[in-house]
Symmetry: C2
Subunit: 354 residues, 2 copies
Amino acid sequence: MADVVILGAGMMGSAFSFPLVDAGHAVRLVGTHLDREWIQSVRETGIHPKLKMKLPGTVAPFTHDQLGEALSPSPDLIVLGVNSAGVDWAVQQLGPLLKGPTPILMLTKGLRARENTLQILPVIVRDGLASHGVKNVPVGGVAGPCIAGELAARRDSSVVITYADAKLLDRILGLVAAPYYHARPSTDIVGVEVCAGFKNLYALAVGYPAGLLAKQGEAPDRPRAHNLAAALFAQALGEIRYVVGFLGGKLASVDGLPGTGDLYVTCQGGRNVRIGYLLGTGLRFSQARTEYGSTETIEGAQFALAVGPTMEGLFEQGRLKRQALPLAGAILDAICHDVPLQIPWTAFHREANA
Amino acid sequence: MADVVILGAGMMGSAFSFPLVDAGHAVRLVGTHLDREWIQSVRETGIHPKLKMKLPGTVAPFTHDQLGEALSPSPDLIVLGVNSAGVDWAVQQLGPLLKGPTPILMLTKGLRARENTLQILPVIVRDGLASHGVKNVPVGGVAGPCIAGELAARRDSSVVITYADAKLLDRILGLVAAPYYHARPSTDIVGVEVCAGFKNLYALAVGYPAGLLAKQGEAPDRPRAHNLAAALFAQALGEIRYVVGFLGGKLASVDGLPGTGDLYVTCQGGRNVRIGYLLGTGLRFSQARTEYGSTETIEGAQFALAVGPTMEGLFEQGRLKRQALPLAGAILDAICHDVPLQIPWTAFHREANA
């Protein structure tokens, strides 16, 4: 039995308590400052209002101001389940409290612009903790197709766990294994994080064709636009492959669960696909955002806004070839410059099937 | 303007008349002996009853006994649109009538067991015609995500055309280009055909998780099993990658439209997914076939029955590694030996993310 602290009590952070508890571990779930109501509800009823499920009874809920308490005694593993915008906050909270290099497992995935290039989040966290004087914290990640609600319903889910250190990786894999949680090892942290970041961006594009049909007033019993969606799906993976190569990751991650698997599951629905649909109806992003209504994070759009300017800089310098990323370029134009999303067919054809 | 004969007036053969006519060509559509009613309907009303659409007015319909008439004068291109079971019939019909090496473009895709290994259909057709004394017929194929009904509705569709000869490939590409039909070149006939054959087999597996939920009595507002479907989707592409390598094709075909794109579109619905769903509910294949009711070809199951014994022989000889194809092995067991389909999780894990 291990002691595990999960920081971040959103959908994914909370869902992750299920395999951990089922594997026999003691779990302390710490909400962020934004999760106060959810932690309150878990305390009172056991039910997570967003996940709409009762968490395992042994999960101990903490509010963010109780993080120090939750971290004492020092746990065997800290799981980071904040959203990508909350990573800096998490580092600021953990930095002063960590007493040593407790391994961190990030459910939060992706990339961020730094020093005119793209940097993966585990490195951001590791460096951030080091600047608080906590050196050599091993930071790894989980990737692959894993919708939180399905994990919490104990549905079979297959993921990849990455750490640079193979021995630690082996230990964490053993720790998280549950009958329905099939985790397999990877040491390709870079490839895995690139896939995780970009899949949200491309899910916007895969949602687009259905919107296009709606704009054309097509009845639901008429032929759909799956051919187009499938072409965009394949193009997306081809472009992710290029970025993974550019940043020094391994193509096997694109082929497997982190790339192919996670893009597939992300395209089955959700906010990114919905915004893509609205772009397909002819709306600009600013209009789609308004039409969508909710203030919830659209991960794909947030990613575009966060890394778009840096990617455009890399395009201009010729370090990243825009002609290798025509679909990403079109999506960045749509999100960052609020122009209608257009499918760049001829650009696809020049790069295709090389 | 070119003269094009399409042999096979099913969904795909008939749909292919749209881009050809829109590209300005004269199209003669020849039904097989099974398509007589459809040809009759096209003659009388222009409407294809199965496609539920009116074909372009300039398409000239012929019944199979008029094939000689349709082939005179000799066309610039013959498009083969029969189903995979009809390939031998088509060769027997064309063999005595062809006067020279008119290029053939196969919409019929896939593989067949021959001489204890797997052989791609274009080679079967080329060799079959040669045995009728018609030598050196260039036989190529179309692959990629292209549902017939969507093509006929002039929806954007992106495909790959393959010929061994780059010059001919270029000519055919120019010939089939229409504003909504985005065709790009490949010389990897083997890779493209392997993808096309195996995608139907794996679509059965991707349909399975929804059936599993139905068996468990899960209500539609409960979490789905997209995580599992996505894991199977990624595993499928990994296994297709292995078979393409085994038969000497190129991995770029798996990454692009023929593999990733076509598997994606095939998993959006249709007969293979439906049978997979029924297997997920716990039925054996024989029961699922009965439950499904229709006598229509289930391409994935037909493929399993056709190549399964040969693949099992290759497994036994150690030429094809069964441990590299655990999902294919499980599907073959389910279809060829009528045992319940089981997801071989642990086998996935041993091979994963190499």
